[in-house]
């Protein structure tokens, strides 16, 4: 038996050891070592209880300020819920030690322990429920959650506590008086003690708000001043007869602590004041100690309950602002670093005053110093090359008025040394609220002189190789057709001469006709063969981002647009990937853009612009829209303009739009044209988001076979 008992004890011991090890292991980032917490709880609880007992004034069995519960509450906040038993285990001996000295019956002592621990656990659980993250007192949300938790815990546990007092017939106070006294006492204690524990624990990890020699000196001066004022006001006979208004004297020091030392300073200073006020008032000193002890206690509690949270809220609000400021500074810094890294210039244009403000290094990449940087948009516009200016301003205007909000243009900008440099400008119109009037425009300027040179070179090369290939092809076609044509001509000449001589045989003529026929057939065979060759390319359906493709096409068209003085504006919505042939869609866009340029090229500067936009339709397809500000489509011809060889232009072949329609339909979409109520025409075509049925495109044509007009090119 003795042996079995020993084993059981050992097992129990081992179990508790394992649990303790688990508690240590559970200690995540930021959780203190449970052993350390246990020691803290034991000492804190004991001293708190002694202080509470010292502040208990007859005839009430309840103290004015009862800190032990809050020590346990605060300690639990530092640990994960699974380790709260460490706090309970450490508090029990301290509780017994403190209470039994006071001669309280053992039953009452144990009952109190139960109600005390219930309060700590309710409070800690409540906070976990409300915050789901560690309490820091750095945000207003933290502070309000803490106030709710502290109140709920004291409120609920006080019913239990008052009931225990009544059951044990301890003291003479009625149930509700005990309940009220304990509620106020414990709320006061929670507001005083828990913030100190939490913020001072946090400062062990992140350091004091104000550190260094100056910080320490300041803290010393603050504490000295606070102690002096509080002692004089609340703990001496000097002020007992003076007006109660003196209770505000410590306020400047409390504010000082809050403003300069954050939540930590606020909670620390408040704890000092609370202790001194309670002690002084309990001894009948100070402006609050002029009545019966119970009434005095009530005044003190109310005073502290209102002062504490106010300071904590103030500290949290300041902390929130400080952090916001910090993150703003960090992002500003990042922004400046980015600017320096890219060597771009970024400006904001205020649309009401027309003032322009450059960020970071300003226009330094273009040789301007702060003094020479244009202060208004008009002055900035004067730096744009005269040939480009109208077009750029039209793009800006388009972004503001068209509701698109974005613009993208390339132009020449005069550097401070009077040379012109090519820049790429991308911009954004800022509105205070969605759909509201524009208030600001933000633009970035990138020096693209170098990029343009390489671009132009590669474009020229591409053009040259295209032309060369075209030349090859035409030459070979010409040769293939020329041969039978030569033979036919020679045969016709021969026949004619034969007839002229008058001595012809019908056999010879018949032979000649036969040869002509076979050469004619041969020529048409050549043409048929070429067509078959051109149709050979298979449609390659892939999923792609039409916005990205459109951007590339806009870049491709930008050179021509610039040369023709047409501003290209884009407005891309977030759209799903579409299904189609990239080369087809590229060709469609180019055809529509060039068509649009033809439409606006003779217009006044403000109307020489095109807007390309994307959107998702109600059916889920993606719609691409190209709007121009030209003369519009002649009445009744919105359908006909897609026909082959129909043209309203002087030099047009009438193929661009026809090809566009063929390609759109081959990709399973449809294309429409209409006039815009504000002038100009709008072309829309859709692209499918879903893949068309395999093997057959929706128009019924087999994949890979294009109608004749498609192969003629733009």
């Amino acid at each position: 038996m003795a042996f079995a008992a020993r084993v059981a004890v050992l097992r129990g011991h081992r179990r508790s050891m394992t649990a303790f090890a688990a508690a240590i292991a559970r200690r995540g980032e930021g959780h203190p070592h449970p052993l350390r917490v246990a020691v803290f709880v034991f000492v804190g609880y004991y001293l708190g209880a002694r202080l509470g007992l010292a502040l208990t004034f007859v005839p009430n069995p309840i103290s004015v300020l009862w800190p032990p519960n809050s020590v346990a509450f605060g300690a639990m906040l530092l640990l994960p819920a699974g380790s709260w038993w460490v706090v309970v285990a450490a508090a029990l001996p301290a509780h017994l030690l403190a209470e039994l000295q006071g001669g309280v019956p053992i039953a009452m002592v144990l009952c109190w322990f139960v109600s005390n621990m219930s309060e700590a656990m309710i409070g800690a659980a409540c906070l976990q429920l409300l915050l789901r993250q560690p309490l820091t007192f750095a945000t207003l949300r933290d502070v309000s959650a803490f106030m709710v938790a502290a109140f709920v815990a004291a409120f609920a546990s006080s019913f239990l506590d008052a009931a225990f007092v009544a059951l044990n017939r301890f003291g003479d106070s009625p149930y509700w008086i005990v309940w009220r006294t304990r509620l106020l006492s414990n709320v006061t204690a929670a507001l005083t003690v828990v913030p100190v524990i939490v913020t001072w624990h946090a400062s062990r990890r992140s350091g004091l708000v104000a550190s260094g020699r100056a910080g320490a000196l300041e803290a010393g001066a603050l504490i000295a001043g606070l102690l002096a004022v509080t002692l004089v006001v609340f703990d001496s006979t000097l002020t007992s007869t003076v007006t109660p208004a003196l209770i505000y004297l410590p306020l400047p020091f409390l504010l000082w602590a809050t403003l300069r030392f954050g939540p930590q300073g606020a909670s620390g200073a408040f704890a000092i004041v609370a202790t001194l006020v309670i002690w002084g008032t309990g001894h009948g000193l100070g402006p609050l100690g002029t009545r019966l002890p119970a009434e005095n206690a009530f005044s003190v509690q109310l005073f502290l309950i209102f002062a504490g949270p106010t300071l904590l809220c103030l500290a949290a609000a300041l902390e929130e602002r400080r952090r916001a400021e910090q993150s703003r500074r960090a992002s500003d810094r990042l922004f400046h670093l980015l600017l320096q890294a890219t060597n771009d210039a970024v400006y904001e244009r205020d649309l009401s005053s027309d003032a322009v403000r450059f960020s970071g290094h300003g226009l330094a990449p273009f040789g301007y110093l702060a003094a020479t940087t244009p202060p208004t948009f008009a002055a900035f516009a004067a730096l744009i090359h005269p040939d480009d200016r109208e077009r750029v301003l039209a793009a800006h205007l388009g972004a503001v008025e068209g509701g698109g909000g974005h613009w993208d243009s390339e132009f020449r900008l005069r550097r401070n040394d009077a040379r012109y440099t090519h820049v790429h400008e991308q911009g954004l119109v800022v509105r205070e609220r969605t759909g509201g009037p524009p208030s600001q425009m933000i633009g970035t300027l990138t020096d693209i002189t170098e990029r343009r040179e390489t671009d132009e070179l590669s474009q020229r090369l591409a053009q040259a190789s295209r032309l060369a290939a075209m030349g090859e092809l035409t030459a070979s076609i010409a040769h293939e057709i020329n041969q039978p044509m030569s033979a036919i001509l020679a045969n016709v000449d021969a026949a004619e001469m034969l007839l002229d001589t008058g001595q012809h045989g019908s056999d010879e003529l018949r032979q000649i006709l036969q040869d002509i026929r076979s050469d004619d057939l041969r020529a048409s065979e050549v043409i048929r063969h070429i067509r078959a060759l051109a149709n050979k390319r298979e449609i390659a359906f892939v999923r792609f981002d039409v916005n990205e493709l459109a951007r590339a096409v806009l870049r491709l068209a930008s050179t021509t647009a610039r040369r023709r003085g047409v501003a290209l504006v884009s407005r891309f919505a977030t759209v799903p990937l579409v299904h189609g042939d990239r080369i087809h869609v590229q060709q469609i866009l180019l055809n529509l853009l060039f068509n649009g340029m033809d439409a606006v090229v003779d217009m006044a500067a403000g109307r020489r612009r095109l807007e390309l936009s994307t959107a998702q339709t109600e059916r889920g397809d993606v719609e691409v829209r190209i709007r121009d500000w030209g003369h519009g489509i002649p009445a009744g011809q919105c359908e006909r303009i897609f026909d082959s060889f129909f043209t309203t232009k002087e030099h047009g072949m009438g193929l661009g739009l026809s090809i566009a329609r063929t390609l759109v339909e081959a990709n399973g979409g449809h294309i429409t044209a209409e006039n815009h109520p504000d002038g100009g025409a709008v072309f829309r075509f859709t692209l499918r988001v879903e893949a068309p049925p395999a093997g057959m495109s929706p128009t019924g044509r087999a994949e890979g076979e294009l109608p004749r007009s498609a192969m003629r090119g733009g």
């Binding site: 010409a478 020329n482 041969q483 044509m485 030569s486 033979a487 036919i488 001509l489 020679a490 001469m497």
Partner: protein, 206 residues
Amino acid sequence: MTSTGPVVHVVDDDASVRAALTRMLRIAGFEVRGYASAVEFLAVRGHAGGCLVLDVGLPGMSGVELQAVLGKIDESLPIVFLTGRGDIETSVGAMKAGAVDFLTKPVKRDALLAAVRAAIARDADARAHRAELRSLHNRFATLTTRERQVFERVIHGKLNKQIADELGTSIRTVKAHRANVMDKMEVGSLAELVGVGNRLENAAHP
């Protein structure tokens, strides 16, 4: 036309073009022979006089290359080039190398016939010229060494006395040689003899 008359040689790789051109030229009154390639033309030796109607873009040896090869042969035929494309560089090169004309396909009848006639005429001239030169050479070959020495000096404008001194003989002997030379070379005057001498010299050092 008889078989000994001029012949138009048509070199074109395209059978139907070749047949049609041949037919047309034949009806126009020329004797015509067709060849499918430059090599096929070169394989036939001893072409009768006439001209060559040559396609520039022949496979294998091109028309221009054939022209270069023929340029090295003495009795080459005048060439009328036909081309599918109006390639200025090639045409300039061909004309500099002695082509009669450079016509683009489909070629107009009158242009082709005119060019062929011009080519044949040029060939006839060249042949007459060559025949004359040949007979001069033949006559020159009958001269003795002494007669050639006298002939050489006469056409360089030397007087009988000078020639006699140089050759170490008498004026009379020189006069006799001179008369023989005039006889053998079939000329009646000193001026004629000088002309014949120059032609022979030019033919020897072109």
